[in-house]
């Protein structure tokens, strides 16, 4: 009986050790992907070995969820496109940016993006506008000077009376009325949208 119990105990311990190592490895990778040192995730997992440490791990999970990640501060353009600095990294999984419409069908009205002390006019004189955090010398750029906005961040596409938005895969992310727009979604019609979010900058969209 004692031998069976000992075997069961050692088997459970072996599973626990494997789970702990695996969890530590995964935590390391997750934290590393966010731009933080991987050992921080490993320590958070190891803290669960103690009773009170479990509580600390939960607190760390909340802190990690709501803190500012170094990944978001980089605002590095990850997809090639107009305004892309040479030699910048390119994410392999990101699809190539779609070409803008060949010809702008300028309508009588334009759009206006207002927010964060900025007013950006989209008059429809160009087929596409590049939303970027820093001026890159491109002809149709709309500069949103904020660290969370990529360089470039997204592309506005004008087609007649319609306005489209395409995310270029920057870490800050793009949202349309609160819904996340991913690079693989391609251009989305935002003619009827009320607001877009570039990184942490909220811009209200209106017709003029």
């Amino acid at each position: 009986m004692g031998a069976e119990l000992a075997a069961l105990f050692s088997l459970s311990s072996a599973f626990a050790v494997v789970a702990l190592v695996f969890a530590g490895w995964m935590a390391w990778r997750i934290v590393d992907k966010a731009g933080l040192p991987g050992w921080a995730g490993l320590i958070a997992i190891l803290l669960t070995l103690t009773g009170i440490g479990s509580l600390v791990s939960v607190i760390l999970l909340w802190v990690f969820a709501y803190m500012r990640w170094p990944r978001d501060e980089g605002a590095v353009a990850l997809v090639t496109g107009p305004g892309m600095p040479p030699g910048a990294p390119q994410r392999p999984s990101a699809p190539a940016a779609l070409a803008p419409p060949p010809k702008a069908l300028a309508g009588p009205r334009g759009w206006r993006l207002v927010g964060a002390g900025l007013t950006l006019a989209v008059d429809g004189s160009a087929p596409a506008y590049l939303l970027t955090g820093e001026a890159g010398g491109q002809p149709a750029e709309l500069v949103v000077p904020d660290p969370s906005v990529g360089r470039p961040h997204a592309r506005l596409l004008v087609a007649g009376d319609r306005l489209g938005l395409e995310d270029l895969g920057t870490p800050g992310g793009t949202l349309i009325d609160g819904a996340r727009l991913l690079p693989e979604h391609g251009p989305r019609d935002i003619t009827a949208a009320r607001s877009i979010r570039l990184g942490s900058v909220e811009l209200a969209l209106s017709r003029v």
């Binding site: 935590a27 909340w62 990944r71």
Partner: protein
């Protein structure tokens, strides 16, 4: 015989109560973990609903962690030396 049935009834009732208590405790703990995990998943570019896997006992947390750890984040990852 009556005593045995009475005892069995009590045991089943107590067992059910214990199981329900464990389930309730698990749900509460999962809720505390789901809220931050939902945000982490959303910031990584995944659906926040992925965090609901934490409701699955024992392996739910591992599955969520594995998805976050071993897949490319749609919202981008930190790259290069820091």
């Amino acid at each position: 015989m009556v005593t045995f049935s009475w005892l069995l009834g009590w045991l089943i009732g107590l067992g059910t109560l214990v199981v329900l208590g464990i389930l309730a405790a698990h749900f509460l703990v999962a809720l505390v973990l789901i809220v931050p995990t939902w945000r982490i998943c959303a910031r990584a570019g995944f659906s926040g609903a992925l965090s609901l896997l934490l409701l699955v006992p024992v392996i739910g947390g591992f599955v969520v962690m594995a998805i976050l750890a071993f897949s490319d984040w749609p919202a981008g990852e930190a790259r290069g030396p820091r």
